[in-house]
Amino acid sequence: MKFPYKMSRRLFTSATIAVGLIAGAGVSAAEKIKVAAIYTLPVEQQWISRIHKALNTAAESGAIEYTYSENVANTDYERVMREYAEQGQNLIVGEVFGLERAARKVAKDYTDTAFLMGSSFGPVAPNFSVFDNWIHEPSYLTGMVAGSMTKSNVIGMVGGYAIPEVNRLMHAFMDGARDVNPDVKFLVNFIDSWYDPPKAKESAFAMMDAGADIMYAERFGVSDAAVERGVKAIGNVIDTSADYPGTILASAIWHMEATIDKAIANAASGNFEAADYGQYSFMAFGGGSLVLDESLVPGDVATAVKTKEQEILDGLFRVNVNDARPESDG
C-alpha cells in the first residue's frame, strides 16, 4: 500500500509543478495541503474545539483542505491515523495522550506524513511533532484573580484526569493565587472522565459544601454548579462567560491558531520537522490570553493582573511549570 501511494504522490507533485510551470501561474494552488484531524471526543469538547476552530479558519482562508474524524476511541485511533496517512494526507493533527507509544510507531511507518499531536511527551524525528495547551501563563493570571477575590480562602478545583497538561495549568493557577494570598487553600478533585457534567457538578457541590467560594472550572458542569449556588468560577481554555453571566471572573483562553499556522506553513514548504510546538501556545505567540470580566473584578485586582500580564509578555516574569498531580491542602 505504501509504495504505490508514494509513487502517486510524487507523480502528482511533479505533475502539478509541471502544470504550474507551463501555465506560468503561481504555485499557490499546488501548495494547498491536505490536513486531517483525529479527535477522541466530539468537536464540542473545549480542548478539541480550539484545534477544530484553528483548522477551520485555515481551511476557510484556503490554505488547507481539512477533514476530520471525531469521537475516535483510543483503541481505534491507530487505525484512523494509518488510514489518513495511506490516503495521502500531508499533515495529521490530533491527540495521543492515551496512546503515546503506539502513535509514535505509526508515525515511523509514514515518514512522508507530518504528524502534529497533542502529547505529554516529546517529539520524535523525523516527522512526529507535539503540542499542548501551554496556557500556564494566563492560568497563573486567573489564579491571581481568584486568590485576590476569595473571601473564604477556599478555592475548589475539579479536573478531568490528572495528566500533565491538566496538572500544569492547575499548578500555575494555584501559584498565582498563593502569590497574592498566602492563606488560600485548595480543594482538588478528579472525576476521571473528560465529559461527565453531572459528576463534575456533584464534585463542585461537595467543594462548595466544604467552603469553596471560587471554582476553577476545568470541566463542563462546574460553572453550572457555581451558577446554582451563586459562587464565582474561573474559566479554562474557552470563554464561557456568555453562558454563565455574572459568574465567570476570568478565563485563561487557548488559541491554537499560532500552532496550526506554523505547522501548516512548515508542512507546505516541506520543512516540517519533529519539534515541540508547545511554545506557540505561550502568550508571547498569541497562543494564550487572559479574559477578565471587569464588571466583576475590582479595579485594583485587574490592574495588578494586567501589570503581571505585561511582565510575562516582556519576558520579565516566568510562570513555573509543574506537571505533578496537584493535591488538596489538608
Binding site: 474545539s49 478533585n189 453531572p198 457538578k201 456533584e202 461537595a206 463542563f220 453550572d224 493535591e327
Partner: protein, 314 residues
C-alpha cells in the same frame, strides 16, 4: 473518622446521594421489569444514551419538558420493542442482542445529534427541570433539603418504585409478568400470550431506562454530550441482582450507590493528598461488588431468565 461522620450527617450529602441515585432508580427498575419477564436487557447503556439525547433534543426543538420526557420514554420503548422482537419470538441470544442494542442506540443517538447540529461549537443548552420548592415541606429541617428540593423527575422515579412494586405484586398483570419469567408454559396454558407479555415488559422496562438517561440531560445537566452516560446503565444491571428483583430493594441499592459516590467525591477532596483519586472513583464499584457477593447468595432469580420460549415446544 470524624470527617466521615460529619459528612454522613450533612443534609447536602444525602441530597446529593438522592440526585446521583435518580437515574439509577429509573434504570434499575427498568432492568428489573425486563428480567422479571425473563429477558435480560443489556441494551440499557445505549437506551440511557438514547433517552438522554431524545429528551434533550425534544426540549431543544420546542417541546415542553414533560412532552420531552414522554418522547424519551417512547424512544426507549422502541428500542425495547426491537430487543423484544429479537429475543422473544426469534429467541436470539439476549446477551448479544442487548449489547448490539447498546452499540446501535448510542451510535444512532450521536448520529442524530450530529446530523441535527452539524456545526455547533458547544452543545446547546435547554432550560432543565428546576428543583421543586414545595412550601413548608422544603423548609423542614434536614428532610426538607434532602427530599423536597429535588427536581420533579426524582419524584417521578420514587413514584415509579411504588408503581412497579404495585403492578408486580398487587395486579393480575404483575402475576402474569412474574409467571412468564418463571414458567412461561404455565402462562401459555392459561391462554395468555407469552410473547406479548415479555415484549410488553421489555418495552416498559426500556422506557424506564430511557427516563434515567433523560434525567441526565434534563435535570442533572442541561445539554447532551456523547459519553455522558458513562457506565451508569451497567451499574443498574448489577443493582438488580443486589436488589434480588424487588423494587423496594432496588431503590435502596440505587441510593446506596449514590451515597457511595457522594461520599467518594467528598473524601477525595478531604484526603486526596494521601490516597490516589482512582481509589475513590473505584470505591462505589468495589463496594457494589461486595454488596452483590453478600446479596446475591439469597437472590431469587426469575427461573426462566435468559431462556427463550417457543410456542408449541416443551
Amino acid at each position: 473518622m470524624f470527617d466521615i461522620l460529619q459528612i454522613l450527617l450533612s443534609e447536602s450529602f444525602w441530597s446529593a446521594s438522592l440526585r446521583i441515585a435518580t437515574p439509577l432508580i429509573f434504570g434499575v427498575l427498568g432492568a428489573l421489569l425486563c428480567e422479571k419477564s425473563g429477558v435480560l436487557n443489556l441494551g440499557i447503556e445505549g437506551i440511557f444514551v438514547a433517552g438522554a439525547m431524545v429528551g434533550w433534543m425534544a426540549v431543544w426543538l420546542g417541546a415542553g419538558l414533560w412532552g420531552a420526557v414522554l418522547a424519551a420514554a417512547l424512544a426507549g420503548a422502541l428500542f425495547g420493542l426491537l430487543h423484544g422482537i429479537l429475543t422473544v419470538p426469534l429467541g436470539l441470544s439476549q446477551h448479544v442482542s442487548g449489547l448490539a442494542i447498546t452499540l446501535f442506540a448510542s451510535s444512532l443517538s450521536y448520529f442524530s445529534y450530529r446530523t441535527a447540529l452539524p456545526t455547533v461549537s458547544s452543545p446547546p443548552r435547554i432550560g432543565p427541570f428546576q428543583p421543586l420548592d414545595i412550601p413548608i415541606l422544603s423548609d423542614l429541617p434536614f428532610i426538607g433539603p434532602v427530599l423536597f428540593q429535588q427536581t420533579a423527575l426524582t419524584f417521578l422515579a420514587l413514584f415509579c418504585v411504588f408503581l412497579v412494586w404495585y403492578v408486580l405484586n398487587k395486579t393480575a398483570l404483575g402475576v402474569a409478568i412474574k409467571a412468564v419469567g418463571d414458567n412461561p408454559n404455565s402462562v401459555d396454558a392459561q391462554g395468555l400470550s407469552v410473547y406479548g407479555l415479555r415484549i410488553g415488559a421489555v418495552m416498559a422496562g426500556s422506557a424506564l431506562m430511557a427516563l434515567g438517561g433523560a434525567f441526565l440531560t434534563m435535570s442533572a445537566f442541561d445539554a447532551f454530550f456523547f459519553g455522558m452516560v458513562n457506565g451508569r446503565g451497567w451499574i443498574c444491571i448489577a443493582l438488580v441482582i443486589f436488589a434480588s428483583w424487588r423494587p423496594g430493594k432496588a431503590l435502596l441499592g440505587a441510593i446506596l450507590f449514590g451515597a457511595f459516590d457522594a461520599l467518594q467525591v467528598r473524601l477525595q477532596t478531604e484526603v486526596g493528598a494521601f490516597v490516589p483519586s482512582q481509589v475513590f472513583l473505584a470505591a462505589p464499584y468495589i463496594l457494589s461488588i461486595f454488596a452483590l457477593v453478600i446479596a446475591a447468595r439469597r437472590a431469587e432469580y426469575p427461573r426462566a431468565l435468559l431462556t427463550p420460549w417457543f410456542k408449541g415446544q416443551r
